[in-house]
Symmetry: C2
Subunit: 188 residues, 2 copies
């Protein structure tokens, strides 16, 4: 297989946009785009305000929350995360979500990763911060939030991954980066 | 901070479901759910058929594709992936997508991870397979697909992460797992 070195990628120019839905968290639009052969097709696009998450290590354990995920119809164990408020800096949102959901206060947050969760159909970007310096504050859940806070070892994280209790991208990436840190001294 | 050990999580019973949109890739519904205090709220839910991806290593390089992502308005470098066809086994989809997008044929695919990309609003699950045994077949893109195939080293992957050219969850997780493999001998 030869690599393609002289090719450029078609940039899918928009012919029209149909706005389908605007909700509390997401909105949906369908863009009609031009294809290189002169034809057209559609792209279904979810708009999301972005979110922030925290990989917080305390006493060599990862701080996680168990919560019900309606789209999955089951509870999941995940690192603390939540969507950005309007104009909120991601690092501020990360610290806020950690304290609201778990009662822990993060110090010296460092940006670990920023990534799109599902670039085929959504613009959601997730900023993930790391800290191993936390102190105890005050949990303060949103009215429609209900979580159980846990501190887990790498071995417990692996057991939760095997059982499917941990099965979301951000928490798998957090655990994998934490293993790199423990085994090699580097998070990346 | 004490851990909560005697608590159970509220399972958000559905009161009603409003179907908003059914598209080629995703559908959207809004569920009204009961809250513990007797009130109600809504959950916006994207249904997705699921997808499969491949971490394919050839000559100690990762096989990736550069493609335009309309929701992001830019090109991205990602591991090969695509959504499951109706009733298709994820491992079959993974092998099919690798060959269609890159022309490489995977041998001895092993399930590396299965995870939800964005469990707060979507049920999309992504099955990710690993192989370091590939042979050369025939690229066969969908009519509306346009990609550039690349083989990259870990150092090149890190440079693409730093520049933002690699910035999706599945590819970051693939690169992080590949680093674990190279540095510790284990993918997980």
């Amino acid at each position: 297989m030869k690599e393609d070195t002289n090719k450029t990628i078609w940039n899918e120019p928009t012919i029209s946009t149909e706005h389908i839905f605007t909700g509390k968290v997401i909105s949906l639009q369908v863009d009609t785009i031009a294809l290189p052969d002169g034809g057209t097709t559609t792209r279904e696009i979810i708009k999301h305000p972005g979110a922030a998450a925290v990989v917080a290590i305390h006493d060599e354990k990862l701080i996680v929350v168990e919560q019900y995920r309606k789209p999955l119809g089951k509870t999941q164990i995940e690192i603390p995360a939540g969507k950005l408020d309007p104009k909120e800096e991601p690092i501020v949102a990360a610290a806020r979500e950690l304290e609201e959901e778990t009662g822990y206060i993060a110090h010296n947050l460092q940006l670990l990763h920023q990534y799109y969760t599902s670039p085929g159909f959504a613009d959601e970007i997730l900023y993930t911060y790391f800290t191993n310096e936390v102190t105890i504050g005050q949990q303060n859940l949103d009215d429609d939030e209900d979580v159980i806070v846990k501190l887990i070892t790498i071995e417990e994280a692996d057991a939760y991954i095997a059982s499917g209790d941990i099965s979301d991208a951000k928490t798998l990436l957090a655990v994998t980066a934490w293993k790199l840190l423990q085994r090699t001294g580097s998070l990346t």
